[in-house]
Symmetry: D2
Subunit: 135 residues, 4 copies
Amino acid sequence: MPAYPIRVRYAETDQMGVVHHSAYVVWLEEARVRYLEELGLDYAELERRGVYFPVTELFLSYRRPLRFGQVARVEVELFEVKSRRVAFSYRVLTPEGELAAKGHTSHVPQDAAGRAVRLPGWVHERLLRALGGDS
Amino acid sequence: MPAYPIRVRYAETDQMGVVHHSAYVVWLEEARVRYLEELGLDYAELERRGVYFPVTELFLSYRRPLRFGQVARVEVELFEVKSRRVAFSYRVLTPEGELAAKGHTSHVPQDAAGRAVRLPGWVHERLLRALGGDS
Amino acid sequence: MPAYPIRVRYAETDQMGVVHHSAYVVWLEEARVRYLEELGLDYAELERRGVYFPVTELFLSYRRPLRFGQVARVEVELFEVKSRRVAFSYRVLTPEGELAAKGHTSHVPQDAAGRAVRLPGWVHERLLRALGGDS
Amino acid sequence: MPAYPIRVRYAETDQMGVVHHSAYVVWLEEARVRYLEELGLDYAELERRGVYFPVTELFLSYRRPLRFGQVARVEVELFEVKSRRVAFSYRVLTPEGELAAKGHTSHVPQDAAGRAVRLPGWVHERLLRALGGDS
């Protein structure tokens, strides 16, 4: 499964001495962007072409704390590709490979004005291929 | 229902021109802290006494974008109080009172070392009273 | 001097147990926006009219830590108004009124494309009046 | 000069369509931490031994915007090492090697209670060696 290393930043810790739960949300996004890039879908380029993927649903379950000085890994997997909805699941792992958190996000394709649109054909096709495991 | 105003900060916007989805996570926390304060539970004081409430589960569903220049309102409601688990639900409203997002968080009481503990009696009691609507 | 209360957010703390130094940068911005608003300059409205004030210089000197549970105050003062450069100074105060940090920011007016422009006359005039202490 | 790549995160952009100025503050810290690591000074380990390096002064001058989809580079250089004060300078470069921002930070060594202390001998020595360019 595609996985991306994320170094914990000092600024991401809180006074409990561990990574604040909001930092994971940014990590999922970072991992998703890198994964799309690997599928040939450059997110910055998609936006320049007028296709946006705002998060419409977010779920995270936190299992083990992460700490400054660690490099976490975020695994990403597509699990739903429809013309009007795309969803990803994630596993955040400790350096030892234990589960730190798991989650998912849903996305509804939009145009620049924020109107829901269908996925452009070539994007849809590429995501379907990745969903099928051919990526 | 208790509700707290949150001014959108410029830094919370992203290049889509709306509030980034990670900012809401911080807002829920801010609303939760103010709500606990109103129940007589000062979160900073609780931590000094060795009681922590890390987020163990987070869910958010985003409905309408919020923008810089707006003041959102975050409604908070306790919906579960057990000796080992507390959960809150939230509604984030636009200035016009429309639903911008809804969500919930779960929390497992811990000590300073990160071990799950029972809620101290006086905290448990106060939360139960709030759950019953007597707050 | 205009001053704005800022509640420390839990997410703004770090593992040293105090507010992370990057949070102050966002607070200065928040105080600046509120101050401009009081001068009749709604920042969101300015941007809709095509006037942007990106930060071109930032200085902060940190004197005393701030902690979760505290409400800081941020004082703002205009100290330079030119047609192509505006600068503000700031003092961040602890709840007891002691100096937590001081700093300044400089801003160069730009259009939507990021080109340096002259301040629109009505904005310039209003800032000059504030600089003179008539606001 | 030691330099570290930083991928711009989507969450770091703002509604001007460029990286928000507060994100650079976190990048400087990230580059500083990696640089110290290369000098054999693991920041997480230093804190466990009771040595903290809070930022006491921060300066940033912003020259060119950075955008989502870019990988910036942050160059770090030690420029002052005293037993009670350490300072670093930074240059943030665009992918094309142009100057996006430059800045510096000062740090005063502290113990866990926030009291200023002298740098431990072995840390002082290693930093002096790096300052001399022998690292």
